[in-house]
Amino acid sequence: MGGIPPAVPRTIGSHTPEWIEAVATRIGAVLAALLIGAGFLAATGHDAWTAYRAMAVGAAGSSFAVEQTLIKAIPLMLTGLGVALAFTMGLWNIGAEGQLTVGALAASWLALQGPALPHPAMIAGLIVLGIAGGAAWALIPAALKAFAGMSEIISTLMLNYVALLWVDYLVFGAWADPTAFSFPYSRPFPESARFPILFGAVHFGLILALSAAIALAVTLRATPWGYEIRTIGASPAAARYAGMPVGRNILLVMATSGALAGLAGVGEVSGVIHRIQQGLSPGYGFTAIIVAWVARLQPWAIVIVAILFAALLNGGFVIQTTGVPAAIAYMIQALILFLVLGSEYLLRRIRHRRATAAAMRAALATSP
């Protein structure tokens, strides 16, 4: 082991620019995942071609379809940006689903129980409360990690279940719609608590999500805080040695990550369903993890991948009516992540082996 030099950087020995390789890998992964999905469809007695065509039409075949896809892309962008920020610092926030939920709960409290504010003030209040709710929920595992050294993987995940049960508790109890007979939702929000519509059915949340993407891109690339986050992510020990406040950044980054998810929750209750209900999110916070990784944690790429994954999700909902389970979309999404990871590490192994072999040959050639 000792005499062999470390692996050469990935650009050496390969003439393909890195971004082309990354894009090619992802296109390949999407196609391969669709192919495997087709295999599952065929094996369960569905016609894969018909199903995929129906999904494509349902996701992008009409202006209604495009609007529905964009509506689903909003929470995916926001939660995707949130978890990507945490992942950039090496924090495994897999609690975006819960943070989204608590953000939605906090906003719903204002809309349902709070004072009757005029429209702009009410919207501002919903956004502030949603951000605060998501941030607060993320601060629980963040504090446990920063002050006690407790791993955030399980804690963020456990808090998802607690948050979802909290919604159940309220919509079956104190917040239940008195006119709906034990249906799991609250009464509808007042008009003043509904997000403005941009076009069609697409709400104001799209502007919030795109602004968040720009803000995050600028923060990570062009601010000292962004530099700290990336340094800690690359090597916490080196960052500590350089005097960077790791503990404080755990709190700040997790709170920001949770705030973005909380904002996604506000968008859902205030922009889409106009009430709070059980099954508020079809797993946006989990899909966000895949979106973030497939986008290599890059904010602008998250916007694109979120739209593609929203299309897949929307297509999945549409084909339910033809008897194909909507879960096909979730399966394909997880397969894409799996294949992206697989191809990236495969390429890395091949390069590493080549470099090691070349170094060995060089060492043997010069040895007496």
Binding site: W92, A148, I154, M158, Y161, I290, W293, M331, F338
Partner: protein, 307 residues
Amino acid sequence: MTTGQLIALLAAAVTAGTPLVFAGIGELVAERSGVLNLGVEGMMLVGAVSGFAVAAVTHDPWMAVIAAAGAGGLIATAHALLAVTLGAEQVTSGLSLALFGAGLSAFLGKPFIGIPNPVPFRAVPVPGLSAVPVLGPILFRQDSLVYLSYGVVIVAWWWIYRTRPGLHLRATGEDAATADAMGIRVGLVRYASVVVGGGLAGVAGGYLSLAYTPAWTENMTGGLGWIAIALVIFSTWNPLRLLGGAYLFGAVDALGFRVQLLGVETSSILLRMLPYLFTLAVLFVITVLQRQARMPGALTRPYFREE
């Protein structure tokens, strides 16, 4: 609480803890070889749906258990491929398996929603042992899968601490390079451990759909796979301690159901938060006590001979 109620509660704790025993032992074996597999929840779900489907079609409960184990083991190979062969980052790989399992099980399970299990496992008192005071009704008036779980724990303990392959397993998980130098086939040991772990997670899921619930519903594991991962940390990678931990969690779960029967005025929804909050509390205590320091030395570290 009367003695009778306490015994009933403890018996319910054993039943509720059984899926955690299977899944926890599976994860423990994988981690002992140096591979963290966060896909437990997904492997359990695939096991649950596969077991249920085979039970519904063949009406053979044991074929169903074998199918659950096979399905769990099969999708675990995906994680082994990424984590062992390609040296991928294990957290991301495990997460993708968890998400894939959730999607796949929901896809495959659609036709089985709302169908009762034609051949559920029911309690089979063990002759003689079930008559033992206190322990008899708690441990020996359970279904056959619970008895199987006792066997799994004993075999796992004996295998890990008392056999040569078990020594190889521990060596691989502590220091793969040294194990390799000793002539142990590191890759093979890790593949086998991940697949066995997946098989046990599959049985854990099968326990839910074949004995505990017994029906198939989407995402029926409700976080048990993640609790099983937390339990492995709690157990300090010791199968016997894992058994105790699983029953402790089972007791918390069972208590949630019974508090209301005891006449305490509480919301059943809030009580369902208990296992998750309890997991957080337990992990916090373990972290503060620094018990996790005893984890396998090579956990999450890929191994390649030429590096």
